[in-house]
Each structure stands twice: as structure tokens, then as C-alpha cells.
């Protein structure tokens, strides 16, 4: 009995553990490969796409899969494969821009709150709490109502909506980092607070924050697609995936599934793949 217990609970040796950790699970490998293919497809869209994404051909409206149109066409006769390929560009770049906005603002606010403490911390923390309580999409729609629809406005608005999450996460990390004696040492050396934060505290947190942003990517893509679907984001004739789902919606009633299914599948595929790879990467980035 004891022997069995000992065997079962004996800790694996360090090299064995390292080997397990270094191993990439199959799911991550598959998801990573798919993501790489999507990125290549987006980059090479002009070479791969059989048609220009905005070529309207009403004579071939809602054609099913066939030799001329591998994934069929939508109600305006636009080739769905071509649109999906071009759509990958905005659908991948826009979340990056969004995360850049949220990252810069969130990290700045989080570090500021942690560093200054006192009323600055209280102000930033309460502000992020209020933003948390407020549905992000509603907040974004409010901003768009004021500044008008469009991809740039959506990216900026969602960037603001994502900022509190990043700020809260950064603040918690920076609080413990700022207490470390090496920060005291820089202070004793006469270094200014801004410089300590920008060149020492933030770089030391960069890995963890980057890992967190990777996990947020799927959510960012999803939120942007939602906005485009609602008509607040990308505007026709752009071939954003979210917009394509919305345009394809009417075709479902007419019995054509593909115009909504193709972009919908693309969104789901990329988000799932990114989450699988993201969680794995964040785990590794966070551990080091």
C-alpha cells in the first residue's frame, strides 16, 4: 500500500518535468499550424484569391460551390473565397491595433496607479471598476454613436473598453515589482520615477503582460467582428468577416448557407486556434 502510494506521489525528476513542459501538446501544434496558414493566406491574398474581393457580378448571385467559385458567391455575386482571404487581413490586423491601444493605455495607467499609490491609485482603480461594471459593447456603441461608425473608431473605442482589464492586471503585477529592492536601489542611485518605470519595471513585466495580451486576442477579434456585424465597424464594400456574416444573413432565408457560414467559420476557427495557442504561450511566458 505504502509502496504504491509512494510510487504514485513521488515527484517526477527535474529533467523529466522539463521534458513534459517542453513538449507541445498536439492541439497546440494543430492550432498553431492553422493560424500560420491563415496568416500566410492573409499576407498572400492578392496571389491566392481568384477574384478581386469587391467584384460584383449579379449574374452569378448566390452560386454554390463549383469550379468557378470554390466556396460559392454571395447575393451580389462576389466570390466568397476571395472575400474571406482579403477579410483575413482586416480581421487579424484590427485586433492587433486594438490590443496595441489597450496595451499602451492599460500598462501606463496600471503602472502609474501602482507607482504613485494614494489618491492616484484610488482614482485609477475606481475608474477601472466603473468601466468593468459597464458592459464593454455598450460603452463602445456609445462612443461610436458620438464619433460615427467605422473601423478606426471601432478599434479605438474597443481599445478603450479593453484598457481597464489590462490596467488592472498590470497594476497587480507592478505593485509587487515596485516593492522589490532593485527598484529601491535605482531610487537611491538618483534615478527618476518615470525612468525606473519605463526602463526597468515595465521591461521586467513585459513577458507576463505580453502573455496576457495574447490571451485577449481572441476576445478582441470577436468583439470587432460583433461590431462589424452590427454595422458599427467595417463598412461595405470592405470584406471584413463580421460584416460578411451580416450580409450573408439574408441569404440563409433564401436557402444559401455559405455566405454566412464561410466568414462565420473563419472567425470561429481563428478565435479557437488563438485561444489554444494563447493559453499555452501565456503559460510559458508567465512561467519564465
Amino acid at each position: 500500500m505504502t509502496a504504491i502510494l509512494n510510487e504514485a506521489t513521488a515527484p517526477a525528476s527535474a529533467p523529466a518535468l522539463a521534458a513534459v513542459r517542453a513538449r507541445r501538446p498536439l492541439g497546440v501544434l494543430v492550432a498553431g499550424t492553422l493560424l500560420a496558414l491563415v496568416v500566410i493566406a492573409a499576407a498572400c491574398a492578392p496571389l491566392l484569391a481568384p477574384y478581386a474581393p469587391d467584384t460584383i457580378d449579379l449574374s452569378s448571385s448566390l452560386v454554390g460551390t463549383g469550379r468557378d467559385h470554390l466556396l460559392g458567391t454571395d447575393s451580389s455575386g462576389q466570390d466568397l473565397l476571395s472575400r474571406a482571404l482579403y477579410g483575413a487581413r482586416s480581421s487579424l490586423v484590427a485586433p492587433l491595433a486594438l490590443l496595441a491601444v489597450a496595451g499602451v493605455l492599460g500598462v501606463s495607467l496600471g503602472v502609474l496607479a501602482a507607482w504613485r499609490g494614494g489618491w492616484v491609485d484610488v482614482l485609477v482603480s475606481r475608474l477601472t471598476d466603473v468601466m468593468y461594471a459597464f458592459p464593454g459593447l455598450l460603452f463602445t456603441v456609445l462612443i461610436i454613436a458620438v464619433f460615427g461608425a467605422g473601423m478606426t473608431t471601432s478599434v479605438l473605442a474597443l481599445g478603450l473598453a479593453f484598457t481597464p482589464t489590462v490596467a488592472k492586471y498590470t497594476r497587480s503585477l507592478a505593485l509587487s515589482e515596485a516593492r522589490k529592492p532593485y527598484v529601491d536601489a535605482y531610487r537611491v542611485q538618483g534615478m527618476g520615477g518615470l525612468r525606473i518605470c519605463a526602463t526597468h519595471v515595465v521591461p521586467n513585466l513585459a513577458r507576463a503582460i505580453l502573455g496576457y495580451l495574447v490571451v485577449l486576442f481572441g476576445e478582441a477579434l470577436m468583439s470587432l467582428a460583433t461590431l462589424s456585424y452590427l454595422g458599427f465597424g467595417a463598412q461595405p464594400p470592405s470584406s471584413d468577416w463580421g460584416l460578411m456574416v451580416q450580409e450573408g444573413q439574408a441569404a440563409i432565408v433564401q436557402g444559401a448557407m455559405l455566405p454566412a457560414l464561410v466568414p462565420g467559420t473563419a472567425i470561429a476557427l481563428v478565435v479557437v486556434c488563438f485561444n489554444v495557442v494563447g493559453v499555452w504561450a501565456a503559460d510559458r511566458l508567465g512561467r519564465q
Binding site: K180, P181, Y182, D184, A185, Y186, R187, V188, Q189, G190, M191, G192, H200, P203, N204
Partner: protein, 269 residues
């Protein structure tokens, strides 16, 4: 011309305790250090010696009392301007207890020193000289703190403090985290540096043997108060205060009986 390099006058600090009450970490601590002198501050854990060290370098603001270097009073809070901040840093530098966390984990030894040198507008080439001065070789120069041993890290921390060319070096339990043979090497290094550069040392330690080795004068602290002061040799040889006697009796030596020291009665402070 003042005969004292460092003058600390009635430094006091009281910390509020969670749930009411307060803890007096330092009460009317007064001392002076002559140019190139070496002062030891000893006491048990919680005696307030680290608080005094942190007040000296400006990491803790004293409630009362003043600190002056070469006759010029130090502002209680760090100045805003860059020039004033750097001038203040050149007065007093500090070496922290745990060299593992007092070094930026991302920077190699050379980068660590260059950061300090650049900050003080000194040539980055001096980094190599400083490394050599504290006995770190080319292999250690490109190593990050996690690849250095405890003694090597503390050597680097000393080099970083010297990069600023301070007049006073405060060492807060600087050898406490090292094992005995490494302690001796670091103490030897400090003695050499003091002889060469004329930097004054304020050596905070719980270890009487260490203090005996490097300091001229000593200050014994208990519960935030100075209970005894004087020349290190005199205080350690014939202490006046019962607390100092207890501290000395607590040092394990040949034929030492821990129960004796544990039974020694001590008058309340």
C-alpha cells in the same frame, strides 16, 4: 569646515500598526561619522537598525530629526530636479541585504554598472574597472544575476554603489545572506575599498564578529533606542549596557551554553 562627514541628529520614526497602535522603529537616534570613518550599527531583529539605514539614504522619511552630509542638510524627500537628485545620490549609496533581489534580473553585470554610470554622466568604460575592482572577471561581466553566486552578486551590488562615487556607503546586513568564508572575502574587499577611496562606511548588522572586523565605532540599538556607543574594540571588550552584554553572550563560542544566555535577565527598556 566640519569635522564630521555624516551627522544624524535625533532621527525618529514611528510606524502605525494595522488595527491601531504604533511601533517606534527609531527614537532619537543621533550619531556622527568622520570622513573615511566606519560606524557599526548593531542590534537584534526589530531593533530599528534597518529603519535608520533606510532613513539615511532617503527611502524612509524620518518623523523628526535631520541628516547632514559635510555640513549640508539632506531634504527629507527626494528632490524633483535631476541634478539635485544625482548630487544627493553621490552623498550616500546603499548595499542591500539580499543581493538576489536588489539587482535588476534582466541586466548583465556590465549593463547594470553602465546604467549607473550613464545615469551619473560617467564614462561607460569605467564598468570594466569597477568589475575588476570588486574582483569580478570577464565571465561574470556578461552574466545575469541568476547566473552569479551570492558572493558575486554582492560584489556586483557593491560595484554598482561605487559607480556613483559616493562619500558614504551604507551596508544593510550586506553579508548576512552569505556563508562565512564568502563573508570574510566581502569584508576584506570593503576594507580595501575604504582604504583606497576613503569612502565612509555605515555598517548595519546583527553580527558582532562582522562589526568587529570592519568598524571603528559602534552603536548598539535596542527597540529603536541607542543603548550604548563607543569605540568598537572598547564596546565589544567591556560593554557597559546589560543588553550589549547579552548580545555578546549570545554569540556561540567554545564552551557556549545557550541556556545561560536565555536565562540572563534583562531590565525593561
Amino acid at each position: 569646515m566640519t569635522p564630521h562627514l555624516l551627522e544624524a541628529d535625533s532621527l525618529s520614526k514611528t510606524y502605525p500598526l494595522p488595527g491601531g497602535g504604533s511601533h517606534q522603529a527609531a527614537a532619537d537616534v543621533t550619531f556622527t561619522v568622520p570622513p573615511g570613518g566606519a560606524l557599526g550599527i548593531v542590534g537584534e531583529s526589530g531593533s530599528g537598525k534597518t529603519t535608520v539605514a533606510r532613513m539615511l539614504v532617503g527611502l524612509v522619511r524620518p518623523d523628526h530629526g535631520t541628516i547632514a552630509v559635510a555640513g549640508r542638510a539632506r531634504e527629507p524627500r527626494p528632490p524633483r530636479g535631476r541634478a539635485a537628485r544625482l548630487a544627493r545620490a553621490r552623498e550616500i549609496q546603499m548595499v542591500f541585504q539580499d543581493p538576489y533581489v536588489s539587482l535588476d534580473p534582466r541586466l548583465t553585470a556590465t549593463q547594470c554598472l553602465r546604467t549607473a554610470l550613464r545615469l551619473h554622466d560617467r564614462g561607460e568604460a569605467e564598468a570594466a574597472e569597477l568589475l575588476d575592482r570588486v574582483g569580478l572577471g570577464p565571465r561574470e561581466a556578461d552574466a545575469r544575476p541568476r547566473d552569479l553566486s551570492g558572493g558575486q552578486r554582492q560584489r556586483l551590488a557593491i560595484a554598482r554603489a561605487l559607480a556613483v562615487d559616493p562619500r558614504i556607503l551604507v551596508l544593510d546586513e550586506a553579508v548576512a545572506a552569505l556563508d562565512v568564508s564568502i563573508q570574510a572575502q566581502i569584508l576584506q574587499l570593503l576594507a580595501e575599498i575604504r582604504a583606497e577611496t576613503g569612502v565612509a562606511l555605515v555598517f548595519v548588522s546583527h553580527d558582532l564578529a562582522v562589526v568587529r572586523h570592519v568598524t571603528d565605532e559602534v552603536l548598539v540599538m535596542r527597540r529603536g533606542k541607542v543603548v550604548e556607543r563607543g569605540a568598537t574594540a572598547r564596546v565589544l571588550a567591556s560593554p557597559d549596557d546589560p543588553y550589549t552584554r547579552l548580545l555578546l553572550a549570545s554569540v556561540p563560542t567554545e564552551g557556549w551554553d545557550p541556556t545561560d544566555t536565555a536565562r540572563t535577565p534583562l531590565p525593561p527598556p
